[in-house]
Structures are given as structure tokens and as C-alpha cells.
């Protein structure tokens, strides 16, 4: 016999939790609980230091502790002195690095994501290996290659062609070379990730609907891969701004990047407040950039959530 259940009388709804109870429930979520260790570390290792730097930047120059005197003289000093040259160098060099890295890595990323097929994994492994060799070692390699007279390029040129070359070191170009070399992987891998998101059938459909190669690139590949490209560019830029070794080893005394200026204040000049203020400038500029980009990103999709 067919039976039916009376659906006319729903039971009374349970009471909703109070605000305090909701907060307690939120704290006890497994998500929050597992996040706690790294969050605590984040506070102690990242937020703490930044707050201290902020604090120090408002101290009078060459003091080492908080004694109740606050001043903005450091910021004024930076804005009026020629520190802006260092900033321009750092940001300019970083921007140039990003541009070069993007141009160089895009074809490779495209290859890894779309062309190489099962060779992609071993090729990626090969590309990854240099990342794990210290950048100082790799930069030293360039130093040897470019050294005047006895360097590998110079020596080879002399032996084979009888050419005498001047030094290739200690120029802006060389520094840029070093930067691009060191930071290329940081552009390459996120861009590859971004390109791997581009669905082949959308590309095929676009072609079918009459789009030429450039239009496909502009309308489909670029927008879909953009999160990856953005992350790669952002990462490269920010890390390049903080670069120390490249300029020193390959650029010599010509170029004083921001990291050197900061380092100088903290070591030789023993002027921590000034060093902190310069740092704050760097932090604010890069921080704004980072926050701006991050708000637009869907990390779940990028990293592979199904």
C-alpha cells in the first residue's frame, strides 16, 4: 500500500547561538585550530619585527632604545637627501628584471604547460636544480665567466680569436644579468602554473570561431594565465628589490641599491632609526603592491582545488 507522510507540521526550529557562543564555536573550528601554530609563528616572526622597525623609524638618529622621544626626522632626512636615487635604482632594476624575466620565461612556460608533454617533468626538474644551489655560488660563476683578462669568456676569446676584451663586470648591464639569472625561476614557475590553467578546448573553440593566434593569446590565454603571471611578476619584483649580492658581486661600487643603503645604516653608520625608516619606505611600497595584487587572486583555483 502506498503510504504518505503528513508534511504539514514542521517541528519548531532550534534556538540560534548567541554572539559569544558563535565566537567560541569559531575558535573551536578545526580550520582555525590547525592554523594556530603557523599564525603564532607569523605574529612572533613577521609582525613583531615589522612593528619594531616601525617603532625604530620614529626614533631620533643613532639611538638604540625607546626612551620616550619620537620624531619624524628620519623620514624628512630620506625625502630631502639623495636616497631617492637608491630607491630608483632598486625599483628600476627590479622592474627591468621582471620585464626581462617575463619575456624570457613566457616561451619556456608555454612549452612546459602545453608543448613538452611528458618531458615537462624532467625538464622542470632540471630547471629547479639551480634554485637549490646558493645564489652566491651561481653569481660567483658569472664573476668567473666575465672576469677581465683571465675570465672564461675573455680567456676563450683570446685563445680562439686573439681578442682582447675589457672587463664585462661592474656595469649596470651585468648587474641586470645577475638579477635576471637569479630570479628567473621565480617568474617561470608561477607563469607555468598560470598557463597550465588555460583549457585547451577553449583555445580550440576560439580558433574554430575565427580568432587568429594573437587574438587567442589576448582574449583567452592572457586573462586565464594572469593570476600565475601576476604572482610570478610580483614575487620577482619584491625579491629583486631586496637583492643584495648581485649588485655587490657583479656591479661593484657603481650601484648602491636599497638593501645596501639599509645595510650601511645598520652596520657602519650605526644609525638604526634611519635604517628602519628606509626599510619602512621599501616595506610600504612593496606592501601596497602585494596587497593590491593578492586581493584579486583566487588562490584555491590557482593551486588546484577541485
Amino acid at each position: 500500500m502506498a503510504t504518505t507522510i503528513d508534511k504539514m507540521s514542521p517541528p519548531p526550529l532550534l534556538p540560534q547561538p548567541t554572539a559569544l557562543q558563535s565566537f567560541g564555536l569559531w575558535l573551536r573550528q578545526p580550520g582555525f585550530l590547525t592554523a594556530t601554530p603557523i599564525l603564532i609563528f607569523f605574529l612572533a616572526g613577521f609582525v613583531g619585527p615589522l612593528v619594531i622597525v616601525l617603532g625604530f623609524s620614529f626614533l631620533p638618529e643613532r639611538t638604540f632604545g625607546f626612551h620616550g622621544e619620537w620624531t619624524v626626522e628620519n623620514y624628512v632626512h630620506i625625502l630631502t637627501e639623495s636616497y631617492y636615487i637608491s630607491f630608483l635604482w632598486s625599483f628600476g632594476l627590479a622592474a627591468a628584471t621582471v620585464a626581462c624575466c617575463l619575456l624570457i620565461s613566457y616561451p619556456v612556460s608555454y612549452g612546459l604547460a602545453k608543448v613538452f608533454g611528458r618531458w615537462a617533468a624532467p625538464i622542470m626538474l632540471l630547471l629547479v636544480i639551480p634554485l637549490f644551489v646558493s645564489e652566491n655560488v651561481r653569481l660567483f660563476g658569472w664573476y668567473i665567466l666575465l672576469l677581465k683578462g683571465g675570465g672564461i669568456f675573455a680567456g676563450t676569446a683570446k685563445e680562439l680569436f686573439g681578442l682582447e676584451t675589457g672587463t664585462l663586470l661592474y656595469s649596470n648591464g651585468t648587474t641586470l644579468l645577475g638579477m635576471v639569472y637569479v630570479y628567473l625561476p621565480y617568474t617561470l614557475f608561477p607563469t607555468t602554473l598560470g598557463l597550465s590553467l588555460v583549457p585547451k578546448d577553449q583555445v580550440d573553440a576560439a580558433g574554430d570561431l575565427g580568432a587568429n593566434r594573437f587574438q587567442i593569446f589576448r582574449e583567452i590565454e592572457l586573462p586565464v594565465a594572469m593570476p600565475g603571471i601576476l604572482i610570478g611578476s610580483l614575487l620577482t619584483f619584491v625579491l629583486a628589490v631586496g637583492a643584495i649580492s648581485e649588485a655587490k658581486v657583479l656591479g661593484g661600487a657603481n650601484i648602491v641599491v636599497i638593501s645596501h643603503a639599509i645595510q650601511h645604516e645598520f652596520t657602519y653608520a650605526q644609525n638604526w632609526p634611519l635604517g628602519s625608516a628606509i626599510s619602512m619606505f621599501a616595506i610600504l611600497i612593496t606592501g601596497t603592491l602585494v596587497i593590491y595584487v593578492m586581493r584579486r587572486l583566487d588562490l584555491d583555483r590557482l593551486l588546484g582545488r577541485r
Binding site: M1, A2, T3, P10, P11, L13, L14, Q16
Partner: protein, 355 residues
């Protein structure tokens, strides 16, 4: 089926998420050894209900009794039930044998015994012996289904739950597995509770079917009963294409049908409502040579026909409405598209339902 002892009793079970009532006052008795299927569209609450029965969710109201004992507070790993998940949830990092033996390993059964039992089960679900050491990631879709079945059976549960395990499989394989599941049910004699969104699938395998909508259990009955006596429009339309005509009771026991602009004869109705729906299944419709051949007839034109294996389906346009007629291939209509036709049905082949 065994004696009519309810192995599972669901009494007024409710589940509330925030302000949403996912399951609303559901009561049901499941008979020992039966194959019971709950059917409903997504969001009807059927998965939530099943999860509560399995112990993966806790009811906010009502009681669940297993063999007479209240199990609301008994956690899933202590209940003598086992679930086959929609995604199968096989342990991808383990072999077929390790998957099947899992429940036994948890109980501490020694290795040799576990292996023996696994081999037995593999035979029952028709997996070749040499699959024992095979990694599950290398198995095909159908093979993975069987591993999931064997794994669940290995825990020797009183009730087996199935959460739409066949929904992600292609048609051929699914039809094949439906039959195998029904055979498995017969062989093992266990109680099976199954969920699906396809009434058609349920009809193949079930002893009884329950239809859920928006958290309510609307109708329970054998496949035949659901098919021939749907309780309301929702249930009747769940079957796929049926002819549903809105009617209004008229003076002399007949019903006015607005969309067909005519009066129809209908079976006697048990309730006193003025309006309702007249449901006529396509296979009850016939092509008539003369109006007097059936209790009800309409005139229309043949819009299109669709071959469906052993049957042919016809769409007949009547005014603004399309009526569906289905005939066996041997009795196919012999005319052409755009012909003027008369179709009709008998009162006993129609059902009057509420909303």
C-alpha cells in the same frame, strides 16, 4: 525477504543547519533484508538522511533505532553499518587487497585470515584474484566500484548504505552494475539502503522506494505502486515524461481541462479538492481510428517521432499543448509527420493527483 521485522526505525528525524531544515520530520521503517531506495532531486535531504543513519551526522531531532536500540549517539565507527560513498573514497595510496582488508585490520584480525576473507569477497564481486596486489589507481571505473563494494562488505555490516555510487559512470557500465548490485543483494541477503536522483535506476533494483522533496518524505511504496499511483504532481513527474493535465472539477463528475479546452472523464477522487492534475502515462495513450474507442479522446497533429530502442515516442500537438504517446515498435503508428490524428486513453489508465 525475511520476516517483516523492521531492522531500522527512523522516527521523526530532523536535521537543522543554521536556519535551514535539511531533513524535516522523516519517519520510516526499513524491513530486514530489503533493498530500499530513497529518490529525490539534489537538495532534497536524502544524502543528509543517509549520513545520519550511518552515523556521520547527528540528528537535531528524532530517533534512529537499529534492531530496537537507539543509536543517535553511537559514532559511525561503532555502528554495524557501512557506506559506499559517491566518490567511492578508495584509499588511493593502497592496493586493492589493502583496501578490502581495512575494516578487518582495524579490528586486529591477523594477516592470513584477512587475506582469505578478501579473496572470498573478491570472488563475490567478480574481481580477478591477481588484482589483490594491484594499486587502486590502476583500476578501471567498474573495477573501482567492485573494490568499494568488497571493502564495505568485508566489515560484515547489518545494513549497507549507498550514496549515489553510480551517478558518475557512463550509461553502459551503469546499467550493467545496476543488475550486478541487485544480484549481490540477493546473494548476500543484507539490507541495502540506496540513494539516487534517478527513479528509473531505483525501479530496477529496489523492493521499496521512498520519494523525498525539500526534506520531506512524500511517498513510500513498491516500484509498481509509485509508478501507477503517484500521490502528487511532483512524484508523477519524477518518472520522466508523463502527460500532466491541470483539471478543475465540474458539475457532473467530469473535469474541465483548460489547456485542451474540453471536458475529460477521470477516476473517482478521494479528496474533496476542486483542482488537481490528471496524469496519463505515454504508454497508456493510443492512436484511435474512431473517438468511441476510448473514454477520452483529443484531436491533434503529429509533431515528431523519436525512436527509443524497443519503443517509439510520439509528440502530438493539441492546441498549445504537446502530448506524449509511446508505443512498442511492433505497434508503431503507420502514418507521417504532420498528420491529423486522434489519440485517447481510458479512465482506468489515468490517475488524479493533488499538488
Amino acid at each position: 525477504m525475511g520476516e517483516d521485522t523492521p531492522i531500522l526505525q527512523i522516527k521523526g528525524v530532523t536535521k537543522q543547519f543554521g536556519k535551514l531544515l535539511a531533513v524535516n520530520n522523516v519517519s520510516l521503517d526499513i524491513v530486514d533484508g530489503e533493498f530500499f531506495t530513497i529518490v529525490g532531486p539534489s537538495g532534497s535531504g536524502k544524502t543528509t538522511l543517509l549520513r545520519m543513519l550511518a552515523g556521520l551526522e547527528k540528528p537535531t531531532g528524532g530517533d534512529i533505532l537499529l534492531r530496537g536500540n537507539r543509536v543517535n549517539d553511537v559514532s559511525a565507527n561503532k555502528r554495524p553499518t557501512c557506506m559506499v560513498f559517491q566518490s567511492l573514497a578508495l584509499f588511493n595510496h593502497r592496493t586493492v587487497g589493502q583496501n578490502i582488508e581495512f575494516s578487518q585490520k582495524m579490528k586486529g584480525v591477523p594477516r592470513a585470515e584477512r587475506r582469505e576473507r578478501a579473496m572470498e569477497l573478491m570472488k563475490i564481486v567478480r574481481l580477478p584474484e591477481d588484482y589483490y596486489a594491484k594499486s587502486v589507481t590502476k583500476c578501471s571505473g567498474g573495477e573501482r566500484q567492485r573494490v568499494a563494494l568488497a571493502r564495505a562488505l568485508a566489515s560484515d555490516p547489518d545494513i549497507m548504505f549507498f550514496d549515489e555510487p553510480l551517478s558518475a559512470i557512463d550509461y553502459q557500465l551503469r546499467k550493467h552494475l545496476e543488475v550486478e548490485l541487485k544480484d549481490l543483494h540477493r546473494e548476500t541477503g543484507k539490507t541495502f539502503m540506496y540513494i539516487t536522483h534517478s527513479l528509473e535506476e531505483a525501479m530496477v533494483m529496489s523492493d521499496r522506494i521512498g520519494i523525498m522533496q525539500a526534506g520531506h518524505l512524500i511517498q513510500v511504496g513498491t516500484p509498481d505502486e509509485i509508478y501507477t499511483q503517484p500521490l502528487n504532481k511532483f512524484v508523477s513527474e519524477f518518472m520522466g515524461e508523463v502527460n500532466t493535465l491541470a483539471v478543475r472539477r465540474s458539475a457532473d463528475g467530469k473535469y474541465d481541462c483548460a489547456e485542451l479546452s474540453m471536458q475529460l472523464a477521470a477516476p473517482a477522487s478521494t479528496d474533496s479538492s476542486e483542482t488537481g492534475y490528471l496524469v496519463v502515462r505515454p504508454e497508456s495513450m493510443r492512436f484511435l481510428n474512431d473517438p468511441s474507442e476510448a473514454d477520452n479522446h483529443v484531436k491533434g497533429s503529429l509533431f515528431n517521432e523519436y525512436g527509443m530502442g524497443s519503443r517509439v515516442q510520439y509528440h502530438v500537438r493539441v492546441g498549445d499543448t504537446m502530448l506524449v504517446v509511446e508505443k512498442l515498435r511492433e505497434q508503431a503508428y503507420q502514418g507521417n509527420i504532420d498528420d491529423d490524428v486522434i489519440i485517447g486513453w481510458n479512465v482506468k489508465d489515468s490517475v488524479l493527483v493533488g499538488d
